[in-house]
Each structure stands twice: as structure tokens, then as C-alpha cells.
Amino acid sequence: MATSPATVPQSSEGSLFKRLRAGDPIAHTLTGMAASTILTITALLVYNLWIGSELPRSLFGWGFVTGSSWDPVAEKFGALPFIYGTLMTSLLALLVAVPVGLGAAIFLAELAPRGASDALTFMIELLAAVPSVIYGLLGIFLLVPFLQTVVVPVLVATLGFLPIFQGQFYGVSVFSAGIILAIMIVPFIVSVSREVLLAVPQDQREAALALGSTRWESTWKVVVPYAMSGIFGSVFLALARALGETMAVTMVIGNKPEIAASLLAPGYSIAAVIANEFAETTSRSMHQQVLFELGLVLFALTVIINGAARLLILSMKGGSK
């Protein structure tokens, strides 16, 4: 809201100084500049990706997004295996991380004693600071053998009839990448969701309890729905991290540009192939421009997924009201 006209002197002499002292125009300008800086940088990024991928865009057109071969020697490139790998690993990561993260957040916000909650939250937030490469090393030296010896045999024994759990498991796979991504994104979900849950007004809980609900009912049926938009926000943040995660994924996904029905098969993601192949490409060669185009595809994917998810939430909110 603008400053009320009554407090701003109308006379021209001295009014500029007085209006500046009031601070609002400066605040508007500065914060507006900050916001437009971010938009400008994003626009420059997209522009850079756009012109950097001119050759393959004109050569392959939309066939790039539907093609499946990846042959740098014959210069036949298709992005579909990478889009598939990116989406599958992120989806798997969300499926595992959201229940775990939300459960942890609810426990820390509602059910745990405050001192323990603060200490545990501090430790979980430290996990968000661990570099991606370390998670990759953790993945390849600890997680993959653990999955190979303990988890996957049980999974195959119980759910092996499902096509997603069939085929030979070599350790490195879409499944392993999804699990390591889940471990990486849980801290984001936990810390943001916990803050949002703590911010729910106490009278909501009290009202629910007064109406005769149990502690859990008040949490699950009143507090969590109240905080739902914030929780979705944390899930978007986590999803964005999962879509773009590079080093941890490339170390455990198997780096094989193929689409397989089974999660136990090796795969490839967009960020992983860019990280792997960029250094050896020569400047502005076809191969390098194709990698730029893959970057553009990843950007478009992120925008589409985020946009679709937000539309979904808007429609849910509109429907519930």
C-alpha cells in the first residue's frame, strides 16, 4: 500500500526529500530491482541455452525429444532415455521422501518434546549441507552393496512379479539413484514442513481437541491440511533439487541411455549426461550444442512439472472451497 497522502506534503519544495525519507519508494525500487535481477538472470540463462543449441534444434526439431538413440560418432541424438531417467528417479525419490519427510516433520513439530525436536532438526538440516559428490560416494560404497545384499532380494522375492522389479540387478540402477535422491531431498522436506507446521496457530489444535479429537486426529485432520500449501512448497523445492541433481545420480545410475520397464535396470538422467560428456566436447561442436539442448529440455521439464503441480493445487483449493 502506498503511504497515505495525508502524511506526504503536497508542496513541491521539500516534498521529494520528505517522500524519500518516508522510505517506501526506495523500498519498492530496491526490491523490484532484486526481483527483476532474478528474472533477468533466468531469461539470460534460457537465451544462452537457446542460441547455444541452434544447430541440433534446426536439425532434429521435435524429434529430439522423442528419439532414443545416443550416438556421438554418427551424430544421432535423442533425449527420450534421459527424460525418462530424470522423471523416474525424481518420481521414485518423491514417493520415498515425501512420506518419510512429512512423517519426520510431523513428529518433530507436533509430537516430540521441544528440546529433542530442536536438536534432531539441527542434525537433519546438516544433511542438506552435505555435498552431492559425498552422497554419490555414499551411494556407491554403502547404499549399492546394501541394496544388492539386503533390499533387492527381499523386494524381488515379494514383489518380483511386477515388471518394475524384474531383470538382473547390477547395483547401479534407476532404483539406486531414486533412493539416493530420496535421502538427499528428505532434509528439505523436513525442515520446511516442520517450520510450516509450527506456524499453524495453536487455537486450531485446541479447537480440534476441544471438539473431542485425539492428538493424532487433530494433527492429521486439522493441522496438516492447514499447512498443506507450505508442505507442497517444500515438496516442490525437493523436486527441483531431485530433477537437477548431478553427481550423486551419475555415480549410481549406471549411465546407460536406455528405457527399461524395470527400476532395477541401469538408466541415465539429463544432468548426469551433461556432467559426463561436456568436458570432452569441443566448443560449439554438434555434441556440445546437443548437450545445451538437453539443458533447455531440463529447464522446460522443470517449468512444466512445477506449473502443472501448482495448477493442480489451485484446482484442489478451488474445489475444496
Binding site: S69, W70, D71, P72, V73, A74, I140, V144, P145, Q168, Y170, G171, V172, T250, M251, G254, N255, K256, P266, Y268, A272, V273, A275, N276, E277, A279, E280, T281, T282, S283, H287
Partner: protein
């Protein structure tokens, strides 16, 4: 008076040090191949101990980056595990208005490494076996293609898990260059390049990634730089060379591979699958890429001096780091070629 004398003395000293001394502080930058990074780091640090004002900074970002950056002139020299292609040399000429010279520095080799719990001896690989395995046509360890060369070894009937490089690299180039020479199917299919479309297998990032995958995956086979295999004490297979002998990779067998191939004047040569009884067939040079004309006289002097030192005392440091030194004939030829740097 004393002030004037003092300032005169200082001015004289500055002038003297500026024009009289042959050791100017110099900063050279280079970028390129990751394979020779250990020996280049050692060379540049040893060279700096001898010439304290000269600092050579090398970034191992990959051969492709080295070629790009030396073409654009952002670095003083490049390094590559494969010689520049004719198109890349043309582009260099049009961008920098001068040619580019290749100087081989050391040699390395690519070895097949495997993980077979029951097999404790070295396996022999024929060219047909290697090509078949990496094409996905030889699927089991006890396939006749492998068993025929390893008659007294009990090979399991398990599936072969192939491991290759996921990132583009000179190591892949040397390996695929060899496979293209020994297998028409490979040449017609994936071909020879730093990054190819591998018919089968898992991809590991870097030599470390491949080794990690091979160590952790039973019944797997991969390829890696000889140095990594030696340092990590991995089982290394022997490879049958063009003369029919099964040769194990070592600095000596690699140097012999280089000695048996005639060296062209521009030093751009592939030495995979050479003739020669003791030659290891999957060997290669690695090159420094130097512009033919260097305008800055001081930088040119440093580069020329470094190249001469590299071909002399530098070569003696190679075997300790498991790199194969250049054969004597190549060294002589290079010393002559240094004179062509204008």
C-alpha cells in the same frame, strides 16, 4: 642528497633487473587431457623448482576442453590424448592465424580389467574376444572366444557384465580406436571416438568410476588406464598383438609399440595394434598442443625451454609414475621440431 642517491640506486636496480635478467616472472596456462595429469603436475612443479619465477598452471579438464581453449587462445598450450582432427586444425588456423604443433610427451596404455572370483591367473584376450565382449556378442565367460586363449583356466558359465566409460575420454578413444582396427563390426558400428554409443554395458564416470564398478560387480570386465590398474593392483588381462603374442601392458611394452610405428613429421599418429613382437597393442601417445607462432617472445622462450627439458630430464621421471617414456628416435625428431616454433 642521500635521498637522491637512494632513489637513483633503486631506479638503477629496477632497470637492471628488468632488462638484464633472463628470468622474467612468467605465468603460463595450459589445459587438456586428464590422463597425463599426474606426470604433467610433477613436471611443472619440478620445472618451477629450477626456474623459480616461472609458473605453469595446468588444468585437467579433458582433451576436448584443451583443444577448444588452445584454439580460442584462452590458454597458452593445450593437451590431448588424441591428435587434433583435420577440421579442428583448420579451425585453429582460421581462428589464430597460425598452425598448431603436436608434441608427444609420454605414452600410456589401456588394459582390460576384470572381476572373476574363481580366476586367479591372468586371462589372455584375443582381439576377437575383446571386440565380441564389448559388442555384446560374446555373452558368457566360458565362450569359446575367451576359453580358446585360456586353456588351463576354468571359466565360469556366468554372464559377462561389461563396464565402459560414461564420460568422453582419451582412454575410450584409444580403446575404441584399437577395437575399430581389429574388428570390422566395431568400425562399422560404434566407431572410434572419445564418446561412442556402447552396445552393452554400464557406464562409470572416470577411470575411478569404471574401476569401482568392476570391483563391486562380480563377473564384470572393463577397460582402464594401465597406471590406474597398476596402482590399484587390479587383475590385468594380456592382449594378443598383431604378431600373435599375448603381451602384458608395461612401460617397456608400450615404448616398444611406439618404436615399431614410423613417426610422421607432424607427430599425429595412432600406435594401436602395431607390428612388433613385444609391443602392447592398446597403447597411445599423449600430446601437447603448441601454436606454431608465439608472439610473446618471453613466453615462447619458456615454452621452448620447457619442451627441451621435458624431452631430457622430464622423460626420466616418467617410469616412476608408471608412464612409458618416449622412444629415443621420437625424442630426436621432436627436438628438431622445436626449432619450427616461430
Amino acid at each position: 642528497m642521500t635521498n637522491k642517491r637512494l632513489s637513483a640506486a633503486v631506479a638503477a636496480l629496477v632497470l637492471l633487473s628488468a632488462c638484464g635478467s633472463s628470468e622474467q616472472p612468467q605465468n603460463l596456462t595450459g589445459a587438456g587431457a586428464t590422463f597425463p595429469n599426474p606426470i604433467y603436475s610433477k613436471w611443472f612443479s619440478e620445472y618451477q623448482k629450477l626456474h623459480q619465477l616461472i609458473q605453469i598452471n595446468y588444468q585437467s579438464q579433458g582433451s576436448g576442453a584443451g583443444i577448444s581453449q588452445v584454439t580460442e587462445g584462452t590458454v597458452d598450450f593445450g593437451a590431448s590424448d588424441q591428435p587434433m582432427k583435420p577440421e579442428q586444425i583448420e579451425k585453429f588456423k582460421t581462428t589464430r592465424n597460425t598452425g598448431v604443433l603436436h608434441f608427444p610427451t609420454v605414452m600410456g596404455a589401456v588394459v582390460p580389467t576384470y572381476n572373476l572370483a574363481e580366476v586367479t591367473t591372468e586371462l589372455n584376450f584375443t582381439p576377437a574376444a575383446l571386440a565380441g565382449i564389448f559388442l555384446g556378442k560374446v555373452k558368457k565367460w566360458n565362450d569359446p572366444a575367451i576359453a580358446s586363449a585360456n586353456k588351463d583356466v576354468k571359466l565360469p558359465a556366468s554372464d559377462i557384465v561389461v563396464v565402459h566409460r560414461s564420460d568422453g575420454s582419451g582412454t575410450s578413444f584409444v580403446f575404441t580406436d584399437y577395437l575399430s582396427k581389429v574388428s570390422p563390426d566395431w568400425a562399422a558400428g560404434p566407431g572410434a571416438a572419445a564418446a561412442v554409443s556402447w552396445p552393452v554395458g554400464l557406464g562409470g564416470k572416470g577411470n575411478e568410476g569404471v574401476i569401482g564398478l568392476v570391483k563391486q560387480t562380480p563377473n564384470s570386465i572393463g577397460y582402464t588406464e594401465m597406471i590406474y590398474a597398476l596402482q590399484n593392483k587390479l587383475p590385468m588381462g594380456t592382449v594378443q598383438n598383431a604378431a600373435g603374442k599375448f603381451v602384458k601392458a608395461s612401460p617397456a611394452s608400450v615404448t616398444e609399440a611406439a618404436a615399431s610405428v614410423p613417426m610422421p613429421d607432424d607427430f599425429r599418429v595412432s600406435i594401436t595394434n602395431p607390428a612388433g613382437d613385444g609391443a602392447y597393442p592398446i597403447s597411445s601417445f599423449t600430446w601437447l598442443l603448441i601454436p606454431e607462432t608465439i608472439k610473446d617472445a618471453a613466453k615462447k622462450a619458456v615454452i621452448v625451454d620447457f619442451l627441451k627439458w621435458m624431452l631430457g630430464p622430464g622423460q626420466a621421471m616418467a617410469p616412476a609414475l608408471e608412464y612409458a617414456p618416449l622412444p629415443a628416435a621420437v625424442v630426436t625428431k621432436e627436438l628438431a621440431a622445436i626449432a619450427t616454433i616461430k
